[in-house]
Amino acid sequence: MATLNILVAVCLIYVTFLFVVAFAAERAAKQGHGGWLRSPLVYTLSLSIYCTAWTFYGAVGYAARSGLEYLTIYIGPSLVMVGWWWILRKLVRIGRSQRVTSIADLISSRYGKSNLLAVGVTLLAVIGTTPYIALQLQSVTLSFDVFSGSNEVAGSIVDRDSTALWVAMGLTLFTIVFGTRNLDVNERHHGVVIAIAVEAIVKLFALLAVGVFVVWGLGGGLSETLQRIDASEIGMWEMRGDRWASLIFLSAAAFLCLPRMFQVMVVENDHESYLRTASWAFPAYLMVMSLFVVPIAVLGLDILPEGSNPDLFVLTLPLATGREGLAMLSFLGGFSSATSMVIVASLALSTMVSNHIVMPIWLSATGGGAKISGDVRNVVILSRRLSIAAVVALGYLYFRLSGGGTALASIGLISFAGVAQFLPVLLGGIFWRGATRTGAFAGLSVGFLVWAFALLLPSFGSGVLISQSVMDNGLFGLAWLRPQAFFGIEGMDPLVHAVMWSISLNTLVFFVSSLVGFPSPLERLQGAQFVNVYEHSRRPQGWSGSAAQSEDLMIMAQRILGAREAQNLFEREAQRQGVSGYLPDPSPDFLQILERELSGSVGAATAHAMIGQIVGGASVSVRDLMAVADETAQMMEYSSKLEAKSEEQARTARQLRQANEKLTQLSVQKDAFLSQVSHELRTPMTSIRAFSEILRDSEKLSGQEKVKYSSIIHDEAIRLTRLLDDLLDLSVLENGQVNLNTQTGVLVDVLDHAISSALTGSSDTRLTVRRRKSHEVVHMTTDLDRLAQVFINLIGNAQKYCDADPAELTINASLSQGQMLVDFIDNGSGISKEDQAVIFEKFARVGEMKAGGAGLGLAICREIMARLGGSVSYLPGQGGAAFRVILPLAASKTTL
């Protein structure tokens, strides 16, 4: 009794310790210095929930009964881990990018966010997991039994059922406290993970301690132990290839499909790179776990009396040799294995039950969305908590009903075979775009029916749930439907038989149904997202938010994510959209992000449905999009490509519209231009025609008059020529056909040349030019002639239009940020503000002065400077008219 009391005390202390560890981890994570919580090591250790009490105690029993076959249970997962690059990496990537909360969520999300499928997977997972939870409870009660049994004090028979009940309640409490503390959008539970990592160490240490004690304490050293092993039956194991292959396959499949493994491996994964470490660390962990299994089994068989339960050798060996402390440690190891499994399994299942069964029912019952009052968060958390309690209660009930009998011994593998039915749908979903929802449904249904009929029901014993006549003669008397001999193939191991038929029929039906059926647009879209997860970092556009009310979305999001979290999200998005305040526009992008955030809390299907209720017309745009895509199969393949395409089309349409507007504008400009050209040509021609007619028709003209009129004709002819030259020049410049004659020169030379050209040939040289030649020693590489043309024009303008007397033009050269600036400033009255805006336009003439120009000079200057990579602009506020020429010197050297 004393031992038992101590045992209970130790259990309580241990559980308290776990609470403290989990609590501390949660706190550290919350305070932001929980970096060490997320490490590859913790991740690897958390994976060890694969090693449940069934493996802790059962492996020895397994070895005692079937030799080395127990190794298959470790080989399967090791192969999966070593080959992580192939499947696990993809699963984790999908899990993270799609905010997957459970394996049911992943499958439902992949097959078009089908909640029906999620419900199915959830139910099957519950069916597959319940016996397993019962098994854990059994192992704990059995180990209690061992202690009480070893104690000879009379009347101390512990009530097994109440032990199991207490354990179940304790585990429920722990899971509720740390699994549903808050509705974490990432669905990660640092407290839980760190606690199971600690438990992983405890169980490894316990098993090693027992192993070391057995080999060196009882076996008398390594070599003698090896001799004993050789002498025992286990040493003469024979390997049955089919059973080994099926078991390795089964454990590998279960490793991927078990809801609790999915939880720690994908959902709780913080970083893809952890897989790299886990890929060798986890197999190493498994290897160490299995190291002493055979010695313990052999010595147990040797030392302990005939008929002792080999499943409990790990406990009974130390106890029988009076090592109560070691036995206590070993008990704790088993306890750890059992508790960590139950905690994570119930957490994973509760997420599934809550997200895919309770929440949809609740939502449809209450009208859902933001329209009802109350905090959805509380409902979600409550439903999680109830689900946890329900899952554990189911396990307990199963344990009670099955009487904790020997029927549980084989339940581990049966459970494995059950969840392994997810494998075809899971792998098909992430590797095959053609997989459809119908196929998934059909495959899963067939697989589970076969599993239940061929393995689960017979496991209760003939005549219990399945009558002897069915066992012997097949269902409905059909001989080919005998549970353990399908299609008359007899003589197979029942497990191998069931696994082979269930998985192959499952796979076959899944493939055929997928090939026959046609996936819905959403399935296509999601399929592409999953299969090409490495290419698609973004989710597809699924929502058109025109009808959505941001405020309703906000209310709903607050209820699910919590007020602060939701406000932060909305504010961030509003900022990103450039909207002030808390309400971003319900753009497809935003809805997508919101849906992803929500799906972290309530699962993809539910989140999709909730947003659908508010936005209305669920994913209409996807259907529209896909309807277009149906026509071109190629586009269908890559939804993102399609998306880009539709964006591109919108862009093209916009460009076309712009081009059209521009063309219309250009057409107006062209008309104006032609009209201007016409005017500029006709004006000199009028003078020429009028005076030539005068000269021709008048006989009484004086010599002076003749000279005058002839020179008018001459001047106007030159004006015409100049106009045509300018027009051609401008046309060449504007079309970009101009060939630049790039040379290296010095600014001072170009200005000298320009000034002399501009001022000579002009009758009055009334303009004084002021320069500072020392500032003009700027070396440059450009088209010097064109630059001079610009200068000539500016100087000419000053000469023509400067109305001051005496007229002066100041030329300032300077350098600024790799650019040469040349300012031309005269002392006239300048150009009015309105006119400054138009002087560079073609035919823009300012003021009332007629100076014979057509108004093309500055337009030409502007084009030239643009070709040279610089600019010319009006410089206001300089007293008179001022122009600044800017030329970048990037390619030229300067001596200034």
Binding site: S675, S678, H679, E680, R682, T683, P684, M685, T686, S687, I688, R689, A690, F691, E693, I694, D697, S698, I712, D715, E716, G847, E848, K850
Partner: protein, 122 residues
């Protein structure tokens, strides 16, 4: 005494040409070369005929004509419009503004003379 013609045109050479042609034919020609105060000049000088260019600095010939047609003194004044932009639209605009005659540059001297004679004679 010859009839008085007012020429509103901003191109000095064209002013010179038309003045020469009309003077030689016995007209008394006065000229004005911007649009701003053209209306006032017309009202003051009360010519027998107005020759009006379309493109004038300050105010377009069309606007000047419209204003003139709204004042009683110049309601019936014969107006010969000159334009260097020989487009159909300009002709229509001139008609709407109330031009008696419309002529596109370049013109022949005899055409101008004929038009002027016709307009004043009628």
């Amino acid at each position: 005494m010859g009839k008085r013609v007012l020429l509103i045109e901003d191109e000095p050479n064209i002013i010179e040409a038309i003045s020469f042609i009309l003077s030689r034919d016995g007209w008394s020609v006065s000229t004005h070369s911007n649009g701003h105060d053209a209306v006032d000049v017309v009202k003051e000088s009360t010519p027998d005929l107005l020759i009006l260019d379309v493109m004038l600095p300050g105010k377009s010939g069309f606007d000047i004509l419209k204003e003139l047609r709204e004042t009683t003194s110049a309601e019936t004044l014969p107006v010969l419009m000159l334009t260097a932009r020989g487009q159909k639209a300009d002709r229509e605009m001139a008609e709407r503004a109330g031009a008696s005659r419309f002529m596109t540059k370049p013109f022949s001297n005899s055409e101008v003379l004929d038009a002027v004679r016709e307009l004043v004679g009628s």
